[in-house]
């Protein structure tokens, strides 16, 4: 690969990293009346970016996505599991559960949603998460999405 191409690769990787999930959240936040399809599309990219999965990943189940993310992470860094342990200090949650809860917490925070752990924890898929986000936002705007 030539030097120029490598520079572009670096730039691309940097852009795709931490910034991307927040960027997707901002897109959703900037459209308070967004349709379900809009929310779902951007939320999916948010989730995939959070989990460092390719943008064309088709899985919908959040635990399955978390597992896939863990497999990739562990190939890169065998110590990654220890970091996840730190996110479940008093509970004995599995790593994939922790990853899921961290994601749900991040969604709640980044999209400024009201706290509703009982409802949010029922979400199993990205599609259901998008439905939840739309319903939670209706509580803000009072309008249908």
């Amino acid at each position: 690969m030539e030097i120029g191409e490598r520079r572009k690769l670096v730039a691309r990787l940097l852009a795709a990293s931490k910034k991307e999930p927040l960027a997707e959240a901002e897109v959703i936040n900037s459209e308070p009346d967004a349709s379900f399809i809009f929310v779902e599309e951007h939320l999916r990219q948010y989730v995939l970016a959070k989990y460092m999965l390719p943008p064309d990943c088709k899985k919908d189940n959040i635990l399955a996505l978390a597992r896939l993310s863990l497999e990739i992470t562990l190939q890169l860094d065998e110590n990654a599991l220890r970091e996840l342990d730190q996110a479940t200090p008093c509970n004995h949650a599995k790593s994939e559960t922790t990853k899921k809860v961290l994601l749900l917490y991040a969604v709640q925070r980044d999209l400024h949603l009201p706290e509703n752990p009982a409802q949010l924890s029922k979400v199993k898929t990205v599609t259901e998460l998008a439905q939840y986000v739309c319903e939670a936002r209706r509580g803000f705007t009072g309008k249908n999405s």
Binding site: Q86, A87, C90, H92, T97, V101, Q108, L120, K122
Partner: protein, 507 residues
Amino acid sequence: MIKRGLDIKLNVKPIFLGIVHKFYYEGPCRFAKGEALTPEYERLMQEELRPQFFKDVEDHMPDCVNLLKPVSAECHDDWVVPEELFDEITAEEADAYIISGGIARSAVLIELGERTGKPVFQDPSIFADLTAVTAALRARGLEAYGCRTWDEIATQMRVLRVRKVLRKAKILLAVRFDSNASKSGNDTFVSLNHVTEAFGTHFRFLNLHELIDYLEPMPEEGNYTTPGRTDTPNITAEEIEKAEALADELLAGADDVHVEREFVVKSCKAYVEICKLLELHDCCGFTAPCPDFCSTRRANESQVTFCLTHSLLNEQGIPSACEYDIDAVLSMLILETISGREAYMGNTLPLVFEGGSLRPQKRFNIKDIADVKDLHNLMTTSHSVAGRNFRGIGGKKASYGLRHFAYDQGFGAIMRYDFTQDKGQKITLCRLSPDCTKIFVGSGEIVGGGDYDVDNCNCYVVYRVKDQDDFYEKQCYVGNHVPLIYGDYTKELKLLGKALGLEVLEA
């Protein structure tokens, strides 16, 4: 319907104790980063973990467990434990609790054990608390199990269910003389009161003569043994019809028949009547004496024995033993409940190897095991009656034959089973000691069988044990009839011994 031991379930209450710290902070035993330190995160985590735990419980509990309504509570770092939590947990009577707790919630588990005295299990993923809470409860004389896996929990639950079955069991005893022991079976329990103290089992007694009177429709003036009483549970015309239909069914299904229909009908009448009595007295097991009964001459006069009754009851998981061997009834109750398979009892005898071959023995013919090269460490269970469900109660019944007990007159229908078809089958044997302090747990492998074509109660099975010397020496503490089942249940039986506070004699 007869309430069998197999129909009794262990009632288990699942309890989930989540933890939510009310504030964001770090300190000893609270170490996390960022969002994981927030109450919002912990509430989400709790919502995620609770259904996972209840699903794990549901997925891993054996069929013998009845799950009660789950209870869920949120514990906090202000250490307040409301009384309502215990009220909710104890609202239903449970036999055991399975709890997902973890650090800082162990006090609740210990107090629950103290209040209820019931066994406490924990989610295997709790790790450190498994041993800590288990030790804390055991040190208080309470029951707790720190199982490492869900499989271990399931096994222990099956064991506790057997213990419950023993506690709830009532056994119907047809007595002529001594209600403890019969004339030929002195190795049964020394004291039935002691059995009740040790295992909780109760007994109901039937006078043997009255029982034999019940095998015929009641005369107008009442039975001979209870004249003027016209409320005795004699067999009815309808029940006789049922017995005849059963007899015809058995005759039609047998591979070979060497008994007259009228004798099969008589044996079936005895069976139908005893079923009625079991239901009447809420009993789940039965035994009647042999010489005590025989010497009344009434077996001869009525032309009936209880052999077929024992076979047909054991096939359903209702332990039924001959020779008034109450010990065998309880041992078979244990085996049938733990395995869901029919138990088989008989004289359990060593085939003694001496002078280069096996010492001749009654009810054994060395030609029946002509293909067995190694004649060491062999045992036989003989002089008994078989059934058709050794491979599972409620499953497909095995092939069988019908013969007669009485050599001369041909009465007393007996079921025959060919054990030679089960060579290689692993078996487990078990018997309680007469003083209720020990449980014998043996294992073996079938190598052959015999006397399929011989009348009287003469079916036998031959099996190899690990060490006949050791087996026999330990058997001498428990007695002659050592019932067996197909399969390896030694682990469960040893755990049961522990749960009952018995010394385990393993061979």
